[in-house]
């Protein structure tokens, strides 16, 4: 292989303004984090609501949540992204269409599409975890709470959800990491997040291996830190005697 290695490439000028290649990676990481964090907040909130809905006695509400999960879980992420980016805007009312397609700058519209895509996709997965977390609790907990006069919303708020969320921190951690990794699909609709910046660096500098090595490292360190952070959170909220914290 006749490849010219150059690890100093990241500090070389890109030829655009006075930017060096490392600046591109920093900007890319910024977008990756901005996409993943915002999408995660929406996914967590929506997923929690849907997860609760799936456990309610009301057939209509649980049916809606089930249909949601089946739809978003069974269509590939990339297909969903293209639907959000290319199709959904055409279904908006005319005023909103003009705004989305013409007034918004292309980066913002790509950002909104990918956030919506990841949020709705991940919400379906969070929903399933919240549901299993609730269903893993003994039925007697609901009974005891009801017997003390709690209304159904109070049963969820004070008894079921605080326990369910503690149980599902490990699988939720996986989803949290997944949303960062999945955010790389944004590169396909032109949002210059980490992967897109890596490809651009590779093309501009011809230092393909260095560029992808750095990207790999950044993703790895980012996700390892998130995992450690979630591990800390799990210990922080652990309750003696409850599942996951040892003992009975």
């Amino acid at each position: 292989m006749n490849y010219h290695w150059d690890w100093a490439v990241f500090f070389k000028s890109t030829g655009i303004g006075d930017e060096i290649y490392l600046d591109w990676f920093v900007a890319g990481l910024g977008w990756t984090v901005a996409v993943a964090l915002v999408a995660w907040c929406i996914a967590l909130a929506l997923g929690a609501v849907l997860g609760v809905m799936r456990t309610l006695p009301n057939k209509a509400l649980s049916g809606v949540a089930t249909a949601y999960v089946e739809l978003f879980r069974n269509v590939p992420l990339l297909v969903q992204l293209f639907v959000w980016y290319f199709l959904v805007p055409d279904l908006l009312p005319e005023r909103a269409q003009v705004w989305f397609k013409q007034e918004l700058n292309p980066t913002t519209s790509a950002y909104l599409s990918v956030v919506a895509c990841l949020a709705f996709f991940t919400a379906a997965r969070v929903c399933e975890q919240v549901r299993t977390g609730i269903q893993a609790l003994p039925r007697g907990q609901t009974m005891a709470a009801m017997a003390m006069g709690f209304s159904l919303p109070q049963v969820y708020r004070h008894v079921l959800l605080p326990q369910a969320f503690r149980i599902i921190i490990p699988p939720l951690t996986s989803e949290f990491l997944n949303i960062f990794k999945n955010s790389s699909v944004a590169s396909l609709i032109g949002l210059m997040e980490l992967l897109a910046q890596t490809k651009q660096t590779a093309e501009f500098s011809a230092n393909l291996f260095e560029a992808f090595t750095l990207a790999t490292l950044i993703y790895f360190v980012l996700n390892m830190s998130l995992m450690k952070g979630m591990g800390w959170l799990e210990k922080r909220v652990a309750v003696p005697g409850l599942i996951g914290s040892g003992g009975k």
Partner: protein, 245 residues
């Protein structure tokens, strides 16, 4: 005087399977009634119908003048006035003992946190566990957890207490500490309906004993009559088996 709990011709089905058949009985204010019978006889189901944790299809249950089966009844409010103790304690494991004792007082009855805390800790002291206020349920033994569960129910100032096999999940050496609390409660005049196999407790404390089999109330009589001369053959068999131990 009308009884505190009156159960009138109650029947209940799970699908086609009838679990309760025309059950009729009553518990007067201050009375202690023990409900016994073989497993699967419907005694737990019956007691859960009293505070509407289980729905029933026929008949009526009136608690302190309020109809449990009436769709217009404010069930959370009714339940908040009837204490219940479960076989598996069902303390909330994510809350400290103190929070277990106060949460419903604050969230359901609207008491001030300080007031609820004083009340909870006083009751905790009464069941002999004042030293454990800051612990979590998982750090207590079964017997201790059940005593906390009784204190938690009492913190709501209930008009009656329902016990659903409160000692069945306990190690033998812990049964008495729970029965002692229940006995004390009975002597203070609490209205109690207890599903239990503890015939010693029934003998010492109960005013009346109800014997159930296959969803029906077979015997409903004063304690002395039940232990002295049960009329039904089924109850005689049950007693002879259970009292051999």
């Amino acid at each position: 005087m009308s009884p505190m709990i009156s159960i009138d011709n109650v029947s209940k089905w799970y699908g086609d399977f009838q679990v309760l058949t025309d059950c009729t009985t009553a518990v007067a204010k201050g009375e202690v009634v023990v409900v016994c019978g073989p497993s699967g006889s419907g005694k737990s189901t019956l007691i859960k119908c009293v505070n509407a944790l289980e729905p029933f299809q026929k008949g009526s249950i009136i608690v302190d003048g309020i109809s449990v089966g009436d769709p217009k009844t404010d069930l959370p409010k009714l339940r908040s006035r009837v204490g219940m103790v479960f076989q598996h304690f069902e303390l909330f494991p994510h809350l400290s003992i103190t929070d277990n004792l106060t949460i419903a007082q604050v969230k359901v009855l609207g008491r001030q946190p300080d007031e609820a805390r004083d009340k909870g800790l006083k009751l905790l002291d009464r069941v002999g566990l004042a030293a454990h206020a800051a612990k979590y349920p998982g750090q207590l033994s079964g017997g201790q957890q059940q005593r906390v569960a009784i204190a938690r129910a009492l913190a709501m100032d209930p008009i009656a207490m329902l016990f659903d096999e409160p000692t069945s999940a306990l190690d033998p050496e812990m049964i008495n500490e729970v029965l002692d609390v229940m006995t004390q409660l009975a002597h203070e005049g609490m209205t109690m309906m207890c599903v239990t196999h503890e015939m010693g407790f029934a003998r010492r404390v109960a005013d009346r004993v109800i014997f159930m089999d296959r969803g029906m109330i077979i015997e409903d009589c004063a304690k002395d009559d039940f232990f002295g001369s049960p009329r039904s053959e089924r109850a005689q068999q049950f007693l002879s088996k259970i009292l051999q131990h």
